[in-house]
């Protein structure tokens, strides 16, 4: 009998400590997660997607207004955005954990109101894996499982790279993020994907991930292919000197729909889909 009680007690201690994880987030703060999480609020689309990719979608009780994937979260309450989180509705949802970007506002407020905050900012391919591991630990998903999800994504990116015909590789690509114009350089998340697809970027890593460039740089570099979101493509031809650019003349321009742009710019579990979108573009519009 005593043995049994001891065994039970030992089991109880083991299970209760098994949930107490200490995680270091991207603010370099040690966050202790004491109990199994049941209610999560995510205030960054790529973190929402990560939670769902780990199969924990049903634990989300609220998301930011920009999260739009997967479809199952469409009905969840919206709690503001990264720069303007709705503190009241987040607190009212009584989450065990708030996932948000380090650049977002309100982390201190949430902490002082007694909520647990995990601030993560995925910016590169390696970050996607790292963030996925941290989220998995927080959600009590075995690391083996998160690594399996990651390997799946990684393999799909490689498959996308292999689907591109040899003559379409080595092209020089300009990826425009927004119309200022900001481009995606080699050191950005998008640049990393392009690199893995075997194409070159006209913007070197030395410019920083998303440099605001002089538009004549693009005319000078004469990229073989231009990738841009629909909303920026609309008046691209009216820019001085651009209509005579080789890529514009030969219509080697891929313009992505808004929902496709979301996939391309978010450093999250849909990066394989992003790679496939770019691969499709490279194959269709690439060198003949």
């Amino acid at each position: 009998m005593l043995k049994r009680i001891l065994a039970l007690a030992a089991l109880f201690i083991m299970t209760s400590t098994a949930h107490a994880v200490v995680l270091r987030d991207d603010r370099q703060i040690e966050v202790t997660i004491a109990k199994p999480l049941q209610r999560i609020v995510s205030l960054l689309p790529s973190l929402t997607e990560t939670v769902c990719a780990l199969g924990q979608c049903e634990k989300l009780v609220g998301v930011d207004r920009y999260s739009n994937w997967p479809e199952s979260i469409a009905k969840l309450p919206r709690m503001g955005g990264g720069i303007d989180p709705n503190i009241e509705s987040v607190v009212a949802a009584k989450p065990d954990l708030v996932l948000m970007a380090t650049s977002a506002r309100g982390a201190e407020r949430f902490t002082s109101l007694g909520l647990t905050v995990l601030a993560l900012e995925p910016r590169s391919h390696a970050d996607v894996q790292r963030v996925m591991r941290i989220v998995a630990q927080a959600l009590d998903v075995p690391v083996v499982e998160s690594d399996r999800v990651w390997r799946h994504i990684d393999a799909a990116v490689n498959a996308a790279a292999q689907s591109i015909p040899a003559q379409a590789k080595g092209q020089r690509v300009y990826f425009e993020v927004s119309r200022a114009p900001y481009g995606a350089s080699e050191s950005s998340f998008i640049g990393e994907t392009l690199q893995r697809l075997g194409v070159r970027n006209i913007l070197p890593a030395s410019l920083g991930p998303f440099p605001k460039i002089n538009p004549e740089l693009v005319v000078r570099a004469q990229p073989d292919l231009i990738m841009v979101g629909d909303s920026n493509f609309a008046d691209m031809t009216t820019r001085p000197g651009w209509q005579n650019m080789r890529a514009m003349r030969t219509q080697r321009v891929c313009h992505f729909k808004p929902e496709e742009s979301d996939v391309l710019v978010r450093a999250g579990p849909r990066m394989a889909e992003a790679a496939r979108l770019m691969a499709k573009c490279l194959t269709e519009k690439g060198k003949p």
Binding site: Y66, G81, D84, V177, S178, R179, A180, P181, Y182, L207, P211, K212, I213, N214, P215, E216, L217, V219, R220, Q222, G229, D230, S231, N232, F233, A234, D235, T238, R239, P240, G241, N244, K257, P258, S261
Partner: protein, 337 residues
């Protein structure tokens, strides 16, 4: 030399500003994403030649023209409102233009029909329409232009309300945020020849009108009642000047976004150099604005090339720095007397 700094002859100042502009445009066609590069080298290379002729030259001329429009508008605003803090954006045109751009950016790429219409109108068109509508709204709220204070207040109110609406759109559609930021900080990157011709045309009309009507500004500087007692047709001239102000500002804002400080600083810089009547102040502020924005644009291109600084940041640093130095200097010269 007097304590109020050197007073130069207006003709001399005008000539040197003109030389500065011409020199700046010449330099501007040789400075770009690759740093300095002479035209002679570009002659043998098609792409380089296209870059000089289609991109750098219109951009430099356009920066000068836009700056000139803002300088002119600034001189008119300060004269009309008899307020040294008045700037061209006073009548709500700035926030009207940004609302126009925000709406256009938010609609781009959505509905194909709306996109096609917007491409024809362009962002510049949207900004211009926004600016004009905002000024009309201000005039309506102020019930005409005869009450300076009411006009000022109406301008501030329209500015705040339209600005808030623009912010609301940016919040709802975060993807327009960077585009909006580019507009708010001002940019000369996308000025082509069409824009140049348009701005120069408007500039010509505005300068001629402002020059012809500048006597009223001289009279106004003596006070409203004095101006009236001089028998000048105050009411119609004021309407005309407000229209010139709105047209000049709207045109510049549509092409370059909200370039900061040129309109405010140019007239002050002119007054620090020459003491003269409003016809010269209007002319010189025009030239000064052009020179100021042009040099800011050159620096914006050069400093981080091939990246770019927002040109509005540099106009503020250049113009503001110089004004601060002037203030400091006049204080110390007064103190040492």
């Amino acid at each position: 030399m007097t304590t109020h700094g050197a007073r130069w002859s207006p003709v001399l100042v005008a000539l040197s500003l003109l030389v500065l502009c011409v020199f700046g445009i010449a330099l501007g066609s040789a400075v770009g994403s690759t740093g300095f590069e002479s035209w002679l080298a570009a002659m043998h290379d098609d792409i380089a030649w296209q870059i000089v002729w289609d991109i750098r030259l219109p951009r430099s001329v356009g920066a000068c023209a836009a700056g000139a429009l803002l300088g002119l508008a600034g001189a008119l605003a300060q004269g009309l409102f008899r307020n040294p803090l008045a700037d061209p954006y006073l009548l709500g045109s700035a926030s009207g233009a940004s609302l126009g751009v925000a709406v256009a950016l938010a609609l781009f790429g959505g509905n194909p029909f709306a996109t096609e219409f917007l491409v024809r109108l362009g962002l510049t068109g949207a900004a211009f329409v926004g600016a004009v509508l905002a000024v009309m709204l201000t005039l309506m709220l102020a019930r005409g232009v005869q009450h300076t204070l009411r006009l000022l207040l109406a301008g501030v109110i329209v500015g705040v309300v339209l600005g808030a609406l623009a912010s609301l759109i940016t919040l709802l559609r975060p993807d327009v945020l960077q585009g909006m930021q580019g507009f708010l900080l001002g940019s000369t990157s996308f000025i082509g020849w069409n824009a140049c011709v348009l701005m120069l045309g408007v500039l010509l009309v505005c300068v001629v009108l402002a020059f012809a009507l500048s006597r009223v500004l001289d009279a106004l500087s003596l006070g409203e009642s004095t101006a009236l007692s001089l028998g000048l047709p105050l009411a119609p001239v004021r309407v005309a000047l407000v229209c010139v102000l709105a047209l000049a500002t709207g045109t510049a804002v549509a092409q370059t976004g909200l370039v900061a400080f040129v309109g405010l600083a140019a007239p002050h810089l002119v007054r620090s150099l020459v003491k003269t009547q409003h016809n010269w102040i209007v002319l010189l502020s025009t030239l000064m604005g052009g020179a100021l924005l042009l040099s800011a644009d050159l620096l914006a291109r050069m400093l981080l090339s091939p990246q770019e600084m927002p040109v509005g940041v540099l106009t503020a640093v250049l113009g503001g720095g110089y004004l601060l130095w002037l203030m400091y200097r006049s204080q110390t010269t007064r103190a040492t007397q």
